[in-house]
């Protein structure tokens, strides 16, 4: 049961090919790690899957909908948390959640309940009326994650969700990811922390716009005869 099916997806910017003919599938409820060095084409590929960018060629089926013709339905069933923390700094925690909830046309009463639930779950009740600008980065990222989940998407795209925070906060964040995946939500995550790749059920490695490798971390390490994901990564990416 695949919820993301990507076939021969390509994106060219002029003569530069950012994403070159990639194909892969992700199962429902899976935590899928999308790895690659900076400029490997991760973000471009992800943007195409979210409907932010139009592919040059190729197709994709996201949550049962066709990328080319049903982008509006796709948007309803996905959540997104971008690379840099990007909620509104000058709105309060509550205002941010309410804004995105209302944009997804969630019923007022239900939205209020969901906001309260996720605030309880995240222990963020103390911050609820604080401007987002004033809360610590770790909390901001948890808030962004919770906000991306308000409309109960089937797939969540996380673009380097933990960049810039300390290891303890990162572990806590991954706790949230596991909890969410357990409810049947598919997690599609890019990261440049190799230890985080170990947390994923399956990973793929992108380099120079191409998908070089795909499989579970253990499987891949055995296949390539290396001990860590870091070494594995080093085989494809010159650093």
């Amino acid at each position: 049961m695949y919820t993301i099916i990507v076939e021969n997806l390509t994106k060219k910017f002029g003569s530069f090919t950012a994403v070159n003919n990639i194909s892969f599938s992700v199962k429902k409820g899976e935590i899928f790690g999308f790895l690659g060095a900076n400029g490997a084409g991760k973000t471009t590929a992800m943007k195409m899957m979210c409907g932010l960018l139009l592919p040059t060629s190729g197709t994709a089926n996201i949550s049962g909908y066709d990328l080319a013709t049903q982008s509006k339905l796709i948007k309803k069933s996905i959540g997104y948390m971008s690379q840099r923390f990007s909620l509104y700094d000058d709105l309060t925690v509550f205002e941010n959640m309410q804004l995105f909830g209302t944009i997804y046309k969630i019923d007022k009463k239900i939205l209020k309940e969901r906001i309260q639930n996720s605030l309880d779950e995240l222990n963020m009740n103390n911050f609820v009326n604080d401007l987002v600008r004033s809360i610590p980065l770790g909390w901001k990222q948890r808030l962004a994650f919770a906000t991306a989940l308000l409309h109960q998407p089937k797939i969540v795209f996380l673009d380097e969700p933990t960049s810039g925070v300390d290891p303890i906060v990162r572990r806590e964040f991954w706790g949230l990811i596991y909890k969410t995946a357990a409810t049947g939500v598919t997690i599609f995550v890019t990261t440049h922390y190799m230890d985080e790749a170990e947390y994923c059920e399956r990973i793929s490695i992108m380099a120079e716009g191409e998908l070089k490798l795909i499989g579970s971390p253990t499987e891949l390490k055995e296949k390539m005869g290396v001990n860590t994901i870091d070494d594995l990564f080093g085989k494809f990416v010159s650093r």
Partner: protein, 367 residues
């Protein structure tokens, strides 16, 4: 609709919490109008003049007397020969010199011709032409008076000029329409496109685009609060110009507001256009400055008269909305033009907005 309203609400919160910008936006028009109104004046008093009187008769003395009494000129020196004129321009900072030829009184009485020669310092064109006009008026008055006193009705001829619509030659009347135009453009086009570009930079734009909300709603939500602000500023400017500078509003106030609202929409569509083509705040700023602000200042007839420009620039001026708005607002405020009389301009401005909105939409929908 609910989604759009919450975006709108968010934009108002953004503006409300950014106190510094809000203050600047509301204070700027007031500062501008007071600055233009009180400091920049096209009226010149006590301009330095040198006079070479080669007649030294009763009539030439009377003319000089009139010039000194007018208050516009201060006679620096009476010269003995023409070479001294150049000396005075260079050393005494005179702005203008006048030569009264020999036999002034005689030629006036016998040949019925009165000649004087005026020499201008045209390194500042505006001052030169203003002083020229002053001197011409004084001269004409003098001739009229001479004719009356000597019962010489038919000749020499004199020109009678009547000042219409701005009889006090009040320069603030010229600036008010221009300032309204600039404020509208700065607030509605510049501010909205900059904040939209800021969202592209901080990535919140992607957060918005990933949702089900339509792109056009994001852009319109951005522009509307600034349209409100610009309208408030316009009302401020009008109040100050009426109550502080006693500028008349001869046409209907309703029509004036309608005109301002139409132009506000034109500026807003410019904002939309700029937002559609620019990716960063710097882009938005440069595009507004080069594509909108400069042409508005230079080619709208606000500071520099369009009639004197080469034909090419006159054509160029036609494609920018500011020129039409300034013509229309002057007609309404100073001449009391009616809806039918400015209908043409309203149509032009509306047509321009429609064109720009159409183009922006085609650009915004691209992914």
């Amino acid at each position: 609709m609910k989604a759009f309203l919450s975006i709108l609400q968010k934009e108002f919160i953004h503006i409300g919490r950014d106190r510094v910008s809000l203050f600047l936006v509301l204070a700027m028009p007031i500062a501008l109008i007071l600055l233009f109104g009180f400091t920049i004046s096209t009226e010149i008093r006590n301009a330095k003049i040198s006079i070479l009187d080669q007649s030294k008769d009763t009539e030439s003395k009377q003319l000089i007397e009139n010039i000194t009494a007018s208050g516009y000129f201060q006679v620096v020196s009476f010269l003995d020969n023409e070479t001294e004129i150049d000396h005075d321009f260079k050393n005494k900072q005179i702005k203008i010199a006048m030569i009264i030829p020999p036999r002034f009184e005689e030629s006036l009485a016998v040949e019925r011709v009165a000649n004087i020669q005026i020499i201008n310092d045209v390194s500042d064109i505006n001052i030169a032409s203003i002083l020229n006009n002053y001197l011409r008026t004084i001269f004409n008055d003098y001739i009229t008076e001479y004719n009356l006193n000597n019962n010489a009705a038919e000749n020499p001829m004199s020109i009678v000029t009547t000042m219409q619509y701005n009889p006090e030659l009040n320069s603030v009347y010229m600036f008010v329409p221009g300032i309204i135009t600039l404020i509208m453009i700065i607030i509605t086009a510049l501010m909205s496109s900059i904040t939209l570009a800021r969202e592209k930079e901080t990535n919140t734009m992607n957060m918005m685009l990933i949702t089900t909300v339509k792109k056009i709603n994001i852009a319109i939500g951005k522009v509307i609060p600034y349209m409100f602000l610009s309208l408030i500023s316009t009302v401020f400017i009008l109040l100050i110009s009426v109550f502080v500078f006693h500028m008349p509003i001869k046409g209907s106030i309703g029509l004036l507001l309608l005109l301002c609202i139409v132009f506000m929409f034109t500026s807003a569509s410019f904002g939309l256009l700029i937002s559609a083509v620019s990716k960063t705040q710097l882009d938005a700023m440069m595009v507004t400055m080069m594509g909108l602000f400069l042409p508005t200042v230079l080619l709208s007839g606000f500071l520099f008269p369009l009639d004197n420009m080469p034909l090419f620039f006159q054509w160029l001026a036609d494609i920018f909305p500011a020129k039409w708005f300034i013509i229309a607002i002057k007609d309404v405020m100073l001449k009391g033009a009616t809806f039918m009389q400015i209908g043409k301009y309203l149509l032009i401005l509306t047509g321009m907005s429609a064109g720009m909105v159409g183009f922006s939409l085609s650009q915004i929908d691209k992914r």
